[in-house]
């Protein structure tokens, strides 16, 4: 509710929104009183407007009691500071009555259901993911995180169009330095930028622009967000995506699945160890193949060395070309099956994986052992629970491969050390990247 003056009316009439076909301007007359109703039909709930505004207007004895009724409505919001056109875009209905303007959030939500988590799948954990509607996400978090210290801060990005976000944190345990830094990063976002996904925002707010390894985590699991909030981290929701950005995030976080906490102690640790083995294989196996077959075959048992030599005999190209060729095929398969509709996807992988693999060996393009290695590399990559780390490691193995091709097994060792060095000097909002968070397991009160 605010006083209506000529400027605000003029501003509204000048706004391009009035020329849109879903813009509704209704003048209602009753008992000599008149109100003007302004809203966007596309995002407002017509029935609710009829029920909550139009009918009471005709039932009211005089305009004064109708205005009193309007003031009592819960949905009324005083979004001071924003212009009338902005309120309309947000999905509010405006009622101009006399010299006063009332606005109501009567937004029709398109998607109210919450889908199952299908990016980070858990076996025994909660099954639901976040929704694309921010209010629903807040609802989910509130009901899971029943602490009065849970705080939401809504805001709008300086993007074009302006995207709504909200910062979530537990006021009691949050690291305020991190919180301030994130707020500052969000404010610093440049204009002329379309932000439609959490990943995009994550990329924009990270300090190092061209980094391979993620320093903030993007997750669709409410349980993970709750866990991270309790550890004093900060989550950011972007309107329109079912993902939350969680910061700070270190290497260890990217290697842990929520199931680790839900299963028994030994099975959880076994899975964790398995994941690190998978990571190691994924990074180094292709490089080991090149290094061992082309530089140091004495490293292998003689039986294996001879069998590799035998299976490589029909291959005319050096080992690294063989490896790059097969890895490329594998990447194409993976990429194709992600983008394809699910029904065609399985056919593509079957055709590609089975037929290509056998045919390539029979044609003498690659060796038998190579097929095993490529399969192992591909599978071990999927062991990593968080997508961004998976993609990072997918790229990283080519770096390893390049260095090994140039310098042999010694190069592989040095590349591995180099990766560790890179990790140690990396940090996420002041947290060392390679730190194994012991504090992860307990709630910290700062």
């Amino acid at each position: 509710m605010s006083q209506l003056d000529q400027d605000t009316i003029q501003e509204l009439l000048d706004s391009p929104i009035t020329r849109s076909s879903d813009f509704v301007r209704k003048e209602l007359h009753h008992n000599g009183a008149a109100i003007v109703l302004l809203y966007l039909r596309s995002i407002c709930d017509d029935a609710k407007i009829q029920q909550d505004i139009v009918l009471p207007f005709y039932r009211a004895d005089h305009i004064g009691s109708f205005q009193d009724y309007l003031r009592s409505l819960d949905s009324q919001k005083s979004s001071k500071g924003s212009s009338l056109s902005e309120r309309i875009i947000k999905g509010e209905a405006l009622v101009l009555s006399g010299d006063e303007v009332f606005s109501f959030a009567i937004k029709k939500t398109v998607q109210e259901t919450v889908g199952p988590a299908d990016v980070e799948i858990s076996v025994v954990g909660p099954k639901q993911a976040f929704s694309e509607e921010m209010d629903i996400n807040i609802n989910i978090l509130r009901s899971r995180y029943t602490e009065p210290s849970l705080t939401f801060e809504r805001g709008k990005l300086e993007s074009y169009p302006k995207t709504e976000y909200s910062i979530v944190y537990d006021r009691k345990v949050v690291d305020h330095a991190v919180l301030d830094k994130i707020k500052k990063d969000l404010e610093q976002l440049r204009r002329k930028l379309v932000v439609q996904a959490a990943g995009q925002l994550a990329r924009r707010i990270s300090n190092v622009k061209h980094t391979l390894f993620p320093t903030v985590m993007i997750t669709e699991r409410p349980d993970r967000v709750v866990l991270n909030l309790s550890q004093g981290k900060v989550a950011v929701f972007v309107h329109g995506t079912p993902f939350a950005i969680v910061a700070p995030a270190v290497f260890y976080d990217f290697m842990s699945a929520m199931d680790d906490l839900y299963t028994h102690y030994w099975t959880g640790h076994f899975l964790l160890v398995l994941r690190y083995i998978g990571l190691f294989l994924n990074l180094t196996l292709a490089s080991f193949y090149v290094g061992l077959t082309s530089y140091n075959p004495e490293f292998l048992r003689v039986q294996l060395a001879l069998s590799i030599a035998g299976s490589r005999a029909p291959v005319p190209y050096p080992s690294y070309i063989e490896v790059v060729f097969m890895l490329l095929m594998m990447e194409l398969l993976t990429e194709a099956s992600i983008r394809l509709p699910r029904t065609i996807g399985s056919t593509a992988t079957t055709v590609g994986g089975l037929i290509l693999g056998t045919a390539a060996t029979e044609a003498g393009l690659v060796s038998n052992i190579m097929i095993i290695i490529v399969a192992c590399v591909a599978i071990s990559n999927f062991v990593l629970p968080i997508n961004e780390m998976m993609f990072a490691m997918r790229v990283m193995k080519y770096v390893f491969l390049l260095i090994t091709t140039l310098f042999g097994v010694m190069g592989l060792v040095i590349a591995f050390i180099g990766l560790l060095v890179h990790f140690t000097r990396k940090e996420s909002y002041g947290r060392p990247y390679l730190r194994l968070f012991k504090e992860n397991r307990k709630v910290l009160i700062r």
Partner: protein, 368 residues
Amino acid sequence: MILRRLLTVLLAIAAAGSLNGCGFKDIDKRFFVVAMAVDPADNPDKLYKVTVKLAIPSPSERFGSNDYTIVSEETDSIAEAVRVIKSEVDKELDLGHMKAIVIGQKLVEQGNMNKLMDWFIRRRDIQNIAWIAAGNPSGKAVLDLRPHTERLPSNMLFMSFGQFGTETAYIVSEYLFDFHRRLKERGLDPLLPIIEVRDNQQVSINRSIILDKERQRIVLQALDNKVVNSFYQGIGKYDIRVDLNDGFFIIAAENCKGTFTLNTRNGKAVIHLYVRVNGIVEESTVPLSKEKLSMYERAAEQQVNKRVLSLFYKLQQAKVDPIGFGLRYRARHTGNPDQVWRDWLRLYPEAEFKVQSKVKLMSTGQIE
């Protein structure tokens, strides 16, 4: 800033490139030398005939897929021979898997082992992995064998010596580095298993040669070989024949371990040999009863004592010491090392051996 970083990376790559030790060579462009033999040369002007066995890899390994090719060269030195052989094959020789060295027995009889070993012990890629043996009738004959059960060329030798496959106390396996050590060490003499070629592409490896520091001194037959091995490697899988009044039985030993202590008393060396045997009766020509197990044990002990004693007196007479009594003596006596060594040389021919064996029979092997 980016340019500087790029420059640093490029420099690092260039610098690392210059450090590159072994070059890029695909595994199918290499010839793996799986075994090497050295024999006396047929040509009287040359010293050695060096033979290498090159594995020809096959895409699918089956029994009998042990393709290989043999290349021989006669020269005065092994290094030369290897270089010449390189010019006779189409792929790069890779010695990284050369795990068997076979010296022709004639060469071992001739002696001069120290000079022969020089090349082998300098090669960084084989000095820690190769086994060494003597070949009868010649090293080349041993290499040029194609047992039907092999999946890879020379795999039989690797399996026998590594005790990956067959486990038996008859095979003494000797690593190159240990052989070299024994050639140099005073008080510990080298031994070499003998690989004998038999008919039908088979071999037998149950005898061994004991050398002094230069040449062959004594050939141990299978039974003696077994006893030496119990002191040397402590491998079980040992059989002992025990004669009774009315027949004999055979003990299959699960483990058999020999140790010794060395005392000098009144200017005389006394060597106590202890042999511990655990086993079961595997074959018998007479009925055995469980109650009399301890009696059988005593009989077996006497048998073991007799056999061990006869072996060690034989070694003593040949003036060789593969077990390392001399080394033990040198380790336990202070003074001028040369003087200690001379003392031992004086003591050893008159040393007295005493054997104490302990046989433990688990069962008679019968179901009662």
